[in-house]
């Protein structure tokens, strides 16, 4: 599928997401009137379906049915679709209806990012020269892990909001039925736990992939920012999960750590995408996602080709 068409579709989805987000916030302020609640649920379901359709269409048009993800934009649409699905699921859980008001802006951010990835920084993955199993393990691990962290961060923001309201002694029924702190903390911790496990697998896949590269690539690769940041993200989530059981890393601190973890992950993506391939040394398949550009994988116009 052409990138301009993908970009236009994604722009429309971004607009719909932001509009739905406004509705959800309004519903939150007006104690979730049934009409607004229904409209938000329908819009979110349509977004999930549209994301799946877009992903399927891009996969079909690529002509390579063994590779559903061909570029970073596909990964972002996949994360957005799964996040939308998770938010729709949470809307049906007891007292978790309002979490989507916090998740929809993040969904909008993912779609907007996907627009950028399709329109301005589009780089197809170069998968043919890499070991397929480990590369797919790496990609799936990193994307699904990121999804879990996004869900955890949405829950963490909701946690901080509810915590602030409770500390301010606001009426619990004042603006919609907010989820209890305990549920949100559980969601933060479970998301972080699952995300951490999946990300670990993804990073392991990346390490194995790198180990199959030349010595020069490895020597260069282990020194780069990307791996340092990936290691930092991994370490941060390890802290979130394990230090929960100490006295000082529960509640508000765990929520902030979760937010910091996602911010670091997004920074990793951003830096890896922004840094020149030579200076960053991203010329092999790295553990965290996206835009590893190999010196020997330049396209016919001399531009870099993304391999991971």
């Amino acid at each position: 599928m052409d990138q301009p068409i993908t970009s236009i579709i994604l722009m429309a989805m971004t607009a719909v997401t932001l509009g739905t987000s406004g509705f959800a916030v309004r519903g939150l302020r007006r104690r979730n009137p049934p009409g607004t609640t229904r409209a938000v649920t329908v819009a979110m379901t349509l977004l999930v379906v549209a994301s799946a359709a877009l992903l399927g269409a891009r996969w079909w048009h690529s002509g390579e049915l063994s590779q559903p993800l061909h570029a970073h934009v596909d990964g972002l649409v996949l994360i957005a679709m799964l996040l939308g699905l998770a938010l729709v699921f949470l809307r049906w859980r007891p007292r978790m209806l309002t979490v989507s008001a916090f998740g929809l802006p993040v969904l909008g951010f993912l779609y907007a990012w996907a627009v950028c990835a399709a329109a301005w920084t589009y780089k197809p993955f170069r998968l043919d020269s890499l070991t397929p199993v480990w590369t797919w393990l790496h990609l799936i691990g990193v994307y699904v892990g990121t999804l879990c962290f996004v869900i955890g961060t949405v829950a963490a923001v909701a946690y901080l909001y509810v915590h602030r309201r409770i500390k301010r002694k606001d009426d619990p029924a004042g603006i919609g039925r907010l989820p209890p702190l305990e549920s949100l903390e559980n969601l933060v911790v479970r998301s972080a736990t699952v995300g951490f496990a999946v990300l670990s697998i993804g990073l392991a896949g990346g390490i194995v992939t790198i180990s199959q590269q030349t010595d020069a690539v490895q020597a260069n690769a282990w020194m780069i920012t990307k791996y340092a940041l990936a290691g930092a993200v991994w370490l941060l989530y390890a802290l979130v999960i394990n230090l929960r059981f100490t006295t000082s890393f529960r509640g508000v601190r765990a929520a902030w750590l979760s937010i910091a973890g996602l911010a670091l992950l997004v920074a990793t993506y951003g830096l890896v995408t922004a840094l020149p391939s030579r200076t960053s040394g991203l010329d092999a398949t790295p553990p965290p996602p996206i835009t590893a550009v190999s010196a020997d994988t330049r396209d016919q116009h001399g531009g870099p080709r993304c391999v991971s």
Partner: protein, 453 residues
């Protein structure tokens, strides 16, 4: 007259200062009635209000100013501080206020029933102390009856009826479920019982009770059917351990000083390993130092924090509230009329008794003088004539002033007339009541057997 402060007019600190504990109530009533002799008084002191209800003759002591000064002195606070928060109601307004309070229309949690029990206990205490007599008996009995009727016939108390039910909502804001949590109640009084009953609807895993008086805690445990496997009574000395175990704490003791400060709780939080702690301070004066609420993972609520919920409840029940207020105004007006008619009825009897006593004396004197001039048979006839003459004369003399006291004129200053008659004729209606049967004239339309009914 009613003079007092409540949760709308005064801060928690001021309310704490004005509180009259159950133990101190009899003495406070006696002191008040000693200070202002002849007046009736009831002191209603709850967690949300302290109000003095006074019944006295018009223009008699205590005046509102005198009572304000007395209350400020008793509460050991400057008069200016009290003046900034105090409200004074007289006559119908005072009665309407009492009726509203008893019905829960003036309560922090609209329509709550807890305050009705507190009104009843305040009245009982005053009756036992002998400071609630004729007027306040009628007023409080009618207020309690009206409150019951309102609760039975309207939906004003449906849903969140008390501090307990609102507190439970706040608990649910922190915890998803209490099935795996421990609930600790500190104090075994009525407030603690009410809140605990509501919290137990969330079926906590364990319910622990502790109180300085173990017997009361044991009694409450029996009432709530707390089995040992679900918790039970723990000694007061183990409070620190209990605070480590508990997830939800309900504090409702009668202590005059905080039983838990931030400095005490801080080291315990480390042992709790960061588990959230919800504390509902339902006591007045407060049991928990407000600084506790600033500690990490501690969520402290006191009675004033329930105000937003109350306002929302109020907004949702405005229509029902208007209906109840109209009912309260009507009932209070009828009651005040009844009280005034009872008073006027007694006054008329006393006045008539006084006049007849005078007439009897004069008739006997006249009869004695005539007995020397006429035969015994004539004396009896003359005596009967004099008797009839005197009765007719008294009735005619009384007819006009008594018709002025007729209740059909709503503008008639009955209280003023009554006070004037009492002073002019030096009437003591309590004594007059004893002689009323002797002089009651069944043909006199100005006296009804049940005045005011």
């Amino acid at each position: 007259m009613m003079l007092g402060i409540n949760h709308r007019t005064a801060t928690v600190e001021l309310r704490e200062q004005m509180t009259v504990s159950d133990a101190a109530l009899p003495n406070a009533l006696q002191a008040l009635s000693q200070r202002f002799k002849g007046c009736e008084c009831v002191i209603l002191s709850t967690c949300n209000r302290t109000e003095y209800y006074i019944a006295r003759e018009s223009h008699a002591e205590p005046t509102a100013e005198a009572l304000r000064a007395y209350v400020a002195q008793q509460a050991n606070m400057p008069l200016e501080t009290l003046d900034a928060a105090v409200i004074v109601r007289e006559q119908d307004a005072a009665a309407t206020h009492l009726f509203s309070v008893a019905a829960g229309l003036d309560a922090m949690v609209l329509g709550e029933t807890q305050v009705l029990g507190q009104v009843r206990r305040a009245y009982d205490a005053a009756a036992r102390a002998g400071t609630a007599r004729r007027v306040l008996h009628t007023l409080f009995q009618q207020a309690i009856a009206t409150a019951k009727e309102i609760h039975n016939t309207t939906d004003i108390g449906a849903g969140r009826q008390s501090v307990g039910s609102v507190g439970v909502e706040f608990i649910r804001q922190v915890f998803e479920t209490l099935h795996d949590k421990t609930l600790l109640c500190i104090g075994a009084g009525d407030v603690g019982k009410v809140v605990l009953q509501h919290a137990m609807r969330l079926t906590p895993q364990r319910v622990l009770l502790t109180s300085r008086t173990t017997d009361r805690a044991a009694s409450l445990a029996r009432q709530l059917r707390l089995t040992t496997d679900r918790g039970g009574v723990r000694p007061w000395e183990s409070l620190d351990t209990l605070l480590v175990e508990a997830d939800v704490v309900i504090a409702a003791t009668g202590a005059t000083q905080p039983i838990l400060t931030a400095a005490q709780l801080k080291p315990l939080l480390r042992k709790r390993r960061g588990r959230p702690l919800f504390i509902l301070d339902a006591a007045m004066p407060r049991d928990i130092d407000p600084a506790v609420g600033s500690l990490s993972n501690v969520y402290l609520y006191n009675l004033d924090d329930l105000r937003p919920v109350v306002e929302r409840t109020l907004a949702g029940r405005q229509g029902e509230l208007d209906r109840c207020r109209a009912q309260v105004r009507g009932a209070a007006s009828v009651c005040i009329n009844q009280v005034q008619h009872q008073d006027i009825g007694r006054l008329i009897r006393a006045l008539r008794t006084r006049l007849h006593d005078l007439a009897d004396d004069e008739r006997q004197r006249t009869t004695r003088k005539l007995s020397h001039c006429v035969s015994a048979e004539h004396t009896r006839q003359i005596e009967a004539l004099l008797d009839e003459h005197t009765r007719r004369l008294i009735n005619k003399v009384l007819h006009l002033p008594l018709s002025r006291l007729d209740d059909t004129d709503p503008e008639a200053p009955l209280g003023f007339y009554a006070a004037a008659l009492r002073r002019l004729f030096d009437l003591d209606t309590d004594q007059g009541q004893e002689h009323v049967e002797r002089h009651a004239d069944p043909t006199d339309p100005t006296i009804s057997p049940e005045p005011g009914t």
